[in-house]
C-alpha cells in the first residue's frame, strides 16, 4: 500500500488539502524538458543505432520518472523533450515529430500504472518494483514496435529484414537504461519530491 507514513495513500488528496495548478508546474515542465534534452541527447549521441534509436537511451529516466512524480506535466515534458534531444543528435525533423505517439505512451504508462495500482514512488514494496518493471517493459514494447514499424518503415528508411535490429535496439535501449536509473532515482528522491508543492497527486495537481 502506497502511504504517506500515516497509512494513507500518497495519491489520496486529504480532507481540507487544497491542490491546484500553479506556476511551479509550468516551471517543472520546462525544467524536465531541459533535463531530458541534455540527458536524452547524451544517450542519442553516445550510443546511436540510427534515426534517433539508441542502444542505451538515458532520456528514459526523465520520460518515466518525471510523469510518476509530476503527473500530466511530466507526460507533456516526456513527450516533447525527445523531439529536441533527437534533433540535436541529428535525427531529421519529421522523423522526430513522428516519434511523438511512442514517447507519449512511454511517458504515460508508468505514471498511470502507479496511480491505478496505488504504488508508492518511494519503492517500498515488491509490488512497486513489479508494477514499474511491467510498465517499463510494456511501454517500451509499444515504442519499440510503433517507431520502427510505423515511423521508420513509413519513411522508407528500413528494410523488413532489418526491423528486428531496430525493434530490439529501441526496446533494449530503453529497458536497460530504465533498469539502471529509474529504480535508483525513485528510491533516492521520491521521499523529497512528494513533500514539495510540485508533486502531483491527481493528473494536473
Amino acid at each position: 500500500m502506497a502511504n504517506n507514513g500515516n497509512g494513507r495513500s500518497v495519491w489520496k488528496v486529504e480532507e481540507g488539502e487544497r491542490r491546484s495548478v500553479g506556476v511551479i508546474h509550468i516551471v517543472i515542465t520546462a525544467l524536465l524538458i531541459g533535463v531530458g534534452f541534455v540527458v536524452g541527447a547524451f544517450g542519442s549521441i553516445s550510443f546511436p543505432l540510427g534515426f534517433g534509436v539508441n542502444f542505451f537511451w538515458t532520456g528514459i529516466v526523465v520520460q518515466q520518472v518525471g510523469p510518476i512524480w509530476f503527473g500530466a506535466w511530466g507526460v507533456i515534458a516526456g513527450t516533447i523533450f525527445p523531439f529536441f534531444s533527437n534533433a540535436i543528435a541529428g535525427t531529421p525533423f519529421y522523423v522526430s515529430l513522428a516519434y511523438i505517439p511512442a514517447n507519449f505512451v512511454q511517458a504515460l504508462l508508468p505514471a498511470w500504472a502507479f496511480k491505478k495500482f496505488n504504488c508508492d514512488p518511494r519503492m517500498k514494496s515488491g509490488k512497486d518494483y513489479g508494477v514499474l518493471l511491467l510498465a517499463m517493459v510494456v511501454s517500451s514494447a509499444f515504442g519499440a514496435l510503433y517507431s520502427p514499424l510505423v515511423v521508420l518503415r513509413g519513411f522508407g528508411l528500413l528494410t523488413t529484414e532489418s526491423l528486428p535490429l531496430f525493434i530490439w535496439g529501441w526496446f533494449g535501449g530503453n529497458v536497460v537504461a530504465g533498469l539502471v536509473f529509474n529504480f535508483i532515482l525513485l528510491k533516492a528522491l521520491s521521499g523529497v519530491v512528494i513533500k514539495t508543492p510540485a508533486f502531483v497527486k491527481r493528473w494536473w495537481s
Partner: protein
C-alpha cells in the same frame, strides 16, 4: 558573436537579416524536400547547397564535428540493414559474393537512396540549430500567435537545458575532485557510475524549480491572465520585403518539386544519372 542553439555565429552574418519565421519555414519545408527526391545527385546537390549556406552564414564548422560519427554510424547501419540483413533475393542482380553472401545491386542502390535522403534532412536541422538563437524561436512562435504559456515554457526549457549542462559539469568536477574518474574505464563501469551524475542532477533541478517559481511569483507572473502582453521580442525583428520574397521562393520550390515528381515523374530512382552510372560500373553489361 551570437550564441545559437548549437554554437556561435558572428553578428555580421547575413543570416541575421532573415526573419526568424522564415528560418522556421525553411526548416519545416526544406526538411520535406528529400522525402520526394530519390535521385541521389539531387539530394547531394541539396546537401552542397545547405553546406554552402552554413559556411556563408559564418557558422564555426568545428562545432559540427559531433555529427560526423552520427553520419558515419548511420551510413554503416543503413548499409548493413540493406545488405547483410537484407536477406536473399534470387531475382536481384548479384554484384559479388562476400563469404558466400550475395551483395545485390538493388540493395546497394536502395541503401544509397535512403542514406542520401536522410543526410540533407539532418543537414537542414543542423543548419537551423547552428544559425538560430533561442530568442529567435520565441519570436517566430510569437509571430504566429502561439499562446504565451507555450512560448514561455519553451523559452524556459531552452534556458534550463543550458543550466542543466552547467550543473552536469559542476557535478562531474565535484566527483572528479573526490577521486572519481571514468576515463579509460570500461563501458559498464561508466554506465553504472553515470547514476552518480543523475541523482544530483535531478536534485539540483528540483531545487532550481522552486527558485524559478519564487522568482516568477515575486514578479507577479500569471499564466492565466487574459491581459494582452506587449511582445517586446517581436519589436526586435522586422519582417522585411526580402523575408516575404524568401518565403515565396521556398514555397514555390516545394510546389515545383511536387509537380516535377508527381506530374512529370522526375527525381525518381530511374531518373538518377549517378545511379545509372554506378550500375554500369558495378554490373557491366547488366540491365537496369
Amino acid at each position: 558573436m551570437n550564441k545559437t542553439l548549437l554554437g556561435y555565429v558572428p553578428d555580421a552574418s547575413f543570416i541575421y537579416l532573415v526573419h526568424p519565421t522564415i528560418k522556421v519555414l525553411f526548416l519545416l519545408v526544406v526538411s520535406l524536400f528529400p522525402m520526394f527526391i530519390s535521385a541521389v545527385e539531387w539530394n547531394v546537390g541539396l546537401m552542397v547547397g545547405l553546406m554552402a549556406l552554413t559556411v556563408a552564414s559564418r557558422v564555426n564548422m568545428r562545432t559540427l564535428k559531433i555529427y560526423i560519427p552520427v553520419a558515419v554510424s548511420m551510413g554503416m547501419i543503413i548499409l548493413l540493414s540493406y545488405t547483410v540483413l537484407g536477406g536473399r533475393h534470387p531475382d536481384y542482380q548479384v554484384i559479388t559474393r562476400i563469404f558466400g553472401f550475395p551483395l545485390y545491386w538493388e540493395r546497394i542502390r536502395d541503401a544509397l537512396v535512403v542514406y542520401f535522403r536522410i543526410l540533407p534532412m539532418i543537414l537542414t536541422m543542423v543548419f537551423f540549430l547552428s544559425t538560430t538563437r533561442e530568442r529567435e524561436i520565441i519570436a517566430a512562435l510569437r509571430a504566429v500567435r502561439t499562446p504565451f504559456v507555450v512560448t514561455y515554457v519553451l523559452a524556459m526549457s531552452m534556458r534550463a537545458a543550458g543550466m542543466v549542462m552547467e550543473d552536469f559539469r559542476i557535478v562531474r568536477q565535484a566527483e572528479q575532485a573526490r577521486g572519481f574518474d571514468s576515463k579509460n574505464k570500461p563501458l559498464p563501469y561508466k554506465i553504472r557510475k553515470y547514476v552518480m551524475y543523475m541523482v544530483p542532477l535531478f536534485a539540483l533541478s528540483l531545487r532550481r524549480s522552486e527558485e524559478f517559481t519564487n522568482a516568477l511569483v515575486a514578479r507577479g507572473y500569471s499564466f492565466r491572465s487574459k491581459v494582452k502582453r506587449p511582445d517586446y521580442i517581436l519589436s526586435r525583428y522586422r519582417f522585411a520585403w526580402w523575408d516575404g520574397a524568401l518565403g515565396v521562393v521556398i514555397a514555390a520550390l516545394f510546389a515545383l518539386l511536387l509537380v516535377a515528381r508527381y506530374r512529370f515523374g522526375r527525381f525518381t530512382v530511374e531518373d538518377s544519372v549517378l545511379l545509372r552510372y554506378l550500375h554500369t560500373i558495378l554490373i557491366p553489361g547488366g540491365g537496369a
